[in-house]
C-alpha cells in the first residue's frame, strides 16, 4: 500500500512463501497472513480505512505482522493521537519514541522466543510499546522498552527486519504465528 513493501516481499519469497500486494479489500481473499510494512502510519491508516481493509482485519481472524508503522496501527492506544488504527493488540505505543531521524539507529536485540542468537535490528523514527495488557507476550526489548511482542495471531515489531539479511522474525511469523512451515 505504502512503505517498505518490496523488502518484505523479498524476505517472504526467499522463505518460500507466496507474497501478493494488498491495496483493496478483494486483495485479502485467500491469504494466510498479512504483513503491515513500515511507512507512515497516518497515511497507511487512512488508506486501510477508505478501501475497506480495516473492517476485515478488525475481525481478528487473519494473522498480522506489523513493523514500525504497522505496529502503531495494530495498537489499541496511540499516545496523543486520534489517528485511524486497527486496534488489534492490547498495547499502547508512543510514536517516534526514540527521537527523530537523527536518532535512528542499528543495534542487536535479544529475543529468545524467536532465536537463541541476538537479532540485528534497524530502528527508524521507531515507536516503542509504553504498556501492554496481560495477554501480550513480550518477545524483545531495547533500553528496557518493548520493541517486539505477540498476542495470539498478532505479531508487532518496532524495528525493520526487512532491511537486513536477517530473516528470523519473518520465519517466526510464518512458522509460529501463521503456522505454515517456511
Amino acid at each position: 500500500m505504502q512503505g517498505a513493501v518490496r523488502e518484505h516481499e523479498r524476505v517472504l519469497t526467499a522463505l518460500g512463501a507466496k507474497a501478493s500486494l494488498v491495496r483493496r479489500r478483494a486483495d485479502l481473499e485467500g491469504l494466510d497472513g498479512l504483513v503491515l510494512p513500515g511507512g507512515e502510519s497516518t497515511t497507511i491508516g487512512m488508506l486501510l480505512e477508505e478501501y475497506g481493509i480495516s473492517e476485515i482485519l478488525r475481525q481478528g481472524d487473519l494473522p498480522v505482522f506489523g513493523t514500525c508503522a504497522g505496529m502503531i496501527l495494530m495498537a489499541k492506544e496511540i499516545e496523543g493521537s486520534d489517528q485511524p488504527r486497527l486496534g488489534l493488540m492490547e498495547i499502547a505505543v508512543r510514536r517516534n519514541a526514540f527521537g527523530r531521524q537523527r536518532e535512528s539507529f542499528e543495534e542487536e536485540i535479544v529475543a529468545p522466543a524467536v532465536s537463541p542468537r541476538p537479532l540485528h535490528a534497524v530502528f527508524i523514527r521507531a515507536p516503542y510499546v509504553v504498556s501492554a495488557g496481560r495477554e501480550v507476550e513480550v518477545l524483545g526489548k531495547v533500553d528496557d522498552k518493548i520493541v517486539l511482542c505477540r498476542q495470539g495471531r498478532m505479531l508487532a515489531g518496532a524495528f525493520h527486519p526487512e532491511l537486513t539479511d536477517d530473516d528470523r522474525v519473518h520465519r517466526y511469523f510464518l512458522e509460529q504465528v501463521v503456522g505454515k512451515g517456511a
Partner: protein, 295 residues
C-alpha cells in the same frame, strides 16, 4: 554490537519507508497539517514554493529556521528542508534543527558551482536531484541516501519529470544489459564511480529510492510517474497553488497508491477545480531552468 547512529542503512531506510507516498511542499504549519491530514508521508518545509521563487527572482536560500521549527512542531510525519547546492553550513544548521531529511536542491540558488555537499559528514540523510543515471550516481557517491528526478520545478508541467524518469530508466537498462567488461567504459561515459555502476548492473535499479519531482500538478501526473517506475512523488507548487488544496492533496495521495487503477484515478480526479496554472517549458529561457543547476 554497540548502538550505531546515522548509518547508511538507517538513512536509506527512511526513504524506503516513504515509498509509494507523496511528499508535499509547505510554507506554514497550517499547510503542513493539511498535507498530513490528506495522507502525505512527509512535508518539505520552505519559505516559498518553487513557482513563487521563480516569480520572485533574486537569490533563493534556506528557509528561516523558525518556519522549519514551527512546521516540525505541527506534524508527526517526517519534515524535510532544503539547503543550497554546496552550502554545507545551511545543511549543518538544518541538521541542528533536527529535520529528518535535507534536500540539496536546485530550487534554491547554488552556493558552489564546483562541489556538492559532502553528505557522508552528516547524520541526517540527504536527497538530491538528478536528470540521468550519471548524475544520480555522483550524488550517491557523495553520500545521498535518496534521489529524486529533477523535472522543472514550479512549472506545473510534467514533461521534464517524464523526460528525466525515462532517461534514468533508459540508462539503467543499458547498464543492466551490458556485459561486465563494458562497465568500466560505461562508468567513464556516465561520469559515475565504477562500483556504483556495477551495483546498478547487479540490482537492476538504483541502489537507493528514486522519487519524481518538478512539475507534478494533478493525480494523473502522479500516477503517470508511478507507472513509469518511480518510487514516490514530490509535489511542490501543485497542491497549494491549486484551487482546492485539501482535495488536490488527498487526490494525489490516492492516485499515487492506486496508480494502476483507472477507476480510482477517474474518481479522485473528479471535481478538483482548477489545477495550478502551468508554464510551457520553451517559454523559460535556458538560464532560468532550475534543472540546469547541479552537475
Amino acid at each position: 554490537m554497540e548502538r550505531e547512529l546515522g548509518t547508511f542503512r538507517v538513512k536509506a531506510g527512511l526513504a524506503e519507508m516513504l515509498k509509494g507516498g507523496v511528499i508535499m511542499d509547505v510554507t506554514k504549519p497550517e499547510e503542513a497539517v493539511i498535507a498530513e491530514r490528506a495522507g502525505a508521508v512527509a512535508v518539505m518545509a520552505l519559505e516559498r514554493v518553487p513557482s513563487d521563487i521563480r516569480a520572485a527572482g533574486g537569490v533563493a536560500r534556506m528557509a528561516d529556521p523558525q518556519i522549519v521549527r514551527d512546521i516540525m512542531d505541527a506534524v508527526t510525519i517526517p519534515v524535510m528542508a532544503k539547503a543550497r547546492i554546496g552550502h554545507f553550513v545551511e545543511a549543518q544548521i538544518l541538521e541542528s534543527l533536527g529535520v529528518d531529511y535535507i534536500d540539496e536542491s536546485e530550487v534554491l540558488t547554488p552556493a558552489d558551482e564546483q562541489y556538492h555537499i559532502d553528505k557522508t559528514k552528516f547524520r541526517v540523510p540527504f536527497v538530491c536531484g538528478a536528470r540521468n543515471l550519471g548524475e544520480a550516481l555522483r550524488r550517491i557517491a557523495e553520500g545521498a541516501a535518496m534521489i529524486r528526478t529533477k523535472g522543472e520545478p514550479g512549472t506545473g508541467n510534467v514533461v521534464e519529470a517524464v523526460r528525466h524518469a525515462r532517461t534514468v530508466n533508459t540508462d539503467i537498462r543499458r547498464v543492466v544489459a551490458a556485459p561486465e567488461d563494458e562497465l568500466p567504459t560505461i562508468a567513464k561515459e556516465l561520469g559515475a564511480p565504477l562500483d556504483l555502476v556495477r551495483e546498478v548492473h547487479d540490482l537492476g535499479r538504483l541502489p537507493v529510492v528514486n522519487f519524481s519531482a518538478g512539475g507534478i500538478a494533478t493525480p494523473a501526473d502522479a500516477a503517470l510517474m508511478m507507472q513509469l517506475g518511480i518510487d514516490g512523488i514530490f509535489v511542490g507548487s501543485g497542491v497549494f497553488k491549486s484551487a482546492n488544496p485539501e482535495a488536490t492533496a488527498a487526490a494525489i495521495v490516492r492516485a499515487t497508491t492506486h496508480y494502476q487503477d483507472p477507476e480510482v484515478l477517474a474518481e479522485v480526479s473528479t471535481g478538483l477545480g482548477e489545477a495550478m496554472r502551468g508554464i510551457e517549458i520553451s517559454r523559460i529561457s535556458p538560464q532560468d531552468r532550475m534543472q540546469e543547476r547541479g552537475w
